[in-house]
Symmetry: C2
Subunit: 287 residues, 2 copies
């Protein structure tokens, strides 16, 4: 496992971590101040700044990207499927313009939450079939753009409203079905928050191997968790044995960024520089 204790060259900042403190340009400037070499920006932040301006800001700061958040939300009723398809194609175009190594996919849960306005359903098995089919379709466009897709399994607490792919095994089953040759076009984004509880995690990381491990995200699981979406913890403040997961991922050859993504009302209420200083300190000591 790489030694992170001496510097933070492998730290990437998912820009949602400080989304309330400033716009994308302000976040990029703060990363430059703190010697952070990579970010994973969100589409809404890019849209607010303007794609061209975002591309220029990233280049001017000499930043790399560790991903682009996010595509997906595939589950929809018939009336909303074309919208979902086109929206995901635009995500690929934007990722390419920004120089992202992959588009992270949050696949969507039930249609009424994934694509609001869709007819409500309780059919999670049907949602999973839709996700499979929609990734198959998106993959053609992504391959043509030479843009890998990283399926992010989300914690089962989000099965209804955000993602019906809830385990690493499920994500890898889709990868194996749609990309049996392990071409590099399809893989997974693993966030310790979503997967730490899984008794099947280590075998599935081994199954993934280097070619499927496209992104690695860290934060922590707090006890108690006051809000299931926006009470994620700073690394070290919760119960996840983060180094054991990173060790497993790196044992497969993963050598990319360790991306910090924290949705937290608490951390959104602190100054951006304080958050980034804390991220760097924890990256060096508990990741």
């Amino acid at each position: 496992m790489r030694d992170f204790s001496n510097d933070h060259r492998w730290l990437s900042l998912n820009t949602a971590t400080v989304r309330k403190q400033g716009d994308l340009v302000a976040i990029i400037e703060a990363c430059a101040r703190h010697g952070i070499r990579a970010i994973d920006p969100w589409r809404d932040q890019v849209a607010a700044t303007g794609l061209d301006r975002a591309v220029k800001a990233v280049r001017d700061a000499g930043l790399e990207l560790s991903g682009y958040c996010r595509g997906g939300m595939f589950v929809a009723d018939a009336a909303h499927r074309i919208e979902a398809r086109d929206d995901n194609r635009r995500a690929i175009d934007e990722a390419r313009a920004l120089g992202a190594p992959c588009v992270v996919l949050v696949v969507g849960g039930l249609p009424q939450y994934s694509r609001p306005g869709s007819v409500a359903s309780r059919d999670i098995a049907g949602a999973r079939t839709q996700v499979h089919d929609a990734i198959a379709e998106m993959l053609d466009y992504a391959k043509a753009a030479n843009m890998p897709l990283a399926i992010e399994p989300l914690h089962p607490a989000y099965a209804a409203d955000r993602a019906c792919v809830n385990t690493t095994k499920q994500a890898l089953d889709i990868c194996d079905a749609l990309d049996p040759t392990r071409s590099g076009a399809l893989g997974v984004a693993l966030d310790v928050y979503h997967i730490w509880w899984d008794p099947d995690l280590l075998p599935q990381i081994a199954r993934a191997g280097k070619q499927r491990l496209l992104a690695f995200h860290v934060c922590d699981w707090l006890v108690p968790t006051k809000d299931i979406l926006n009470d994620r913890g700073m690394m070290g403040d919760g119960v996840i044995d983060i180094p054991s997961v990173r060790a497993a991922v790196e044992a497969q050859g993963f050598a990319g960024y360790s991306e910090i993504e924290i949705f937290s009302d608490d951390w959104w209420n602190k100054p951006m520089d304080e958050v980034l200083k804390t991220c760097i300190a924890r990256h060096r000591t508990v990741v």
Copy 2:
């Protein structure tokens, strides 16, 4: 699948559902008023009433039990393991006195939450090993008392603080290891709230079979879920396709009670009779 639409003879009330509205005796009286034939009482409610008085109240009302909640919380540091063992033996003794068909096991998460005062740990794999060993030990005592143990897999959102057995597969793996002959002494309690999201659910229910299916609990998953412990929904108010799970369980031969267990600040704030009337109506229409 049994037809529940004409009566509620297969409705059991987990007494936690109305724990804030009255003590165990008041709940038993309310069940009698509403023609509810079975309950699953909690140990703290029995203790508050007194075991002898609880036994008499259950008998006088002619109630059956669908389970006894709960044993478990096995994970502990060395200083707290004897306490955990003895506590679980008392749970078996109480269940026997009450005429329960099984003791439901919530196995515990990390030691600092499972048995407060224990030395803190992030070792969830170690917790799982402890659970396996402790159930093996408890099973000897349970067999001597002729009291089946029902392992309840809990939603992964509780992996840290309540139960590190988070899937039906995990629970059944323990059953198969400790009771390979399927003697009836060890099985599972399946609550739709905890398992509805699991892509492996239907195959695991088939794997369980009648001999492992010792209890079946219902409520619903609300979107949004405002509190991860105490915002469970009344059946029909959430996203779970409950009949599909009940159909799978009954296809294996399960013919026991459909037990309603709702931890909800909203429902705890309504009059007991209103809650029970609603439970009965929903049992007949959406379970």
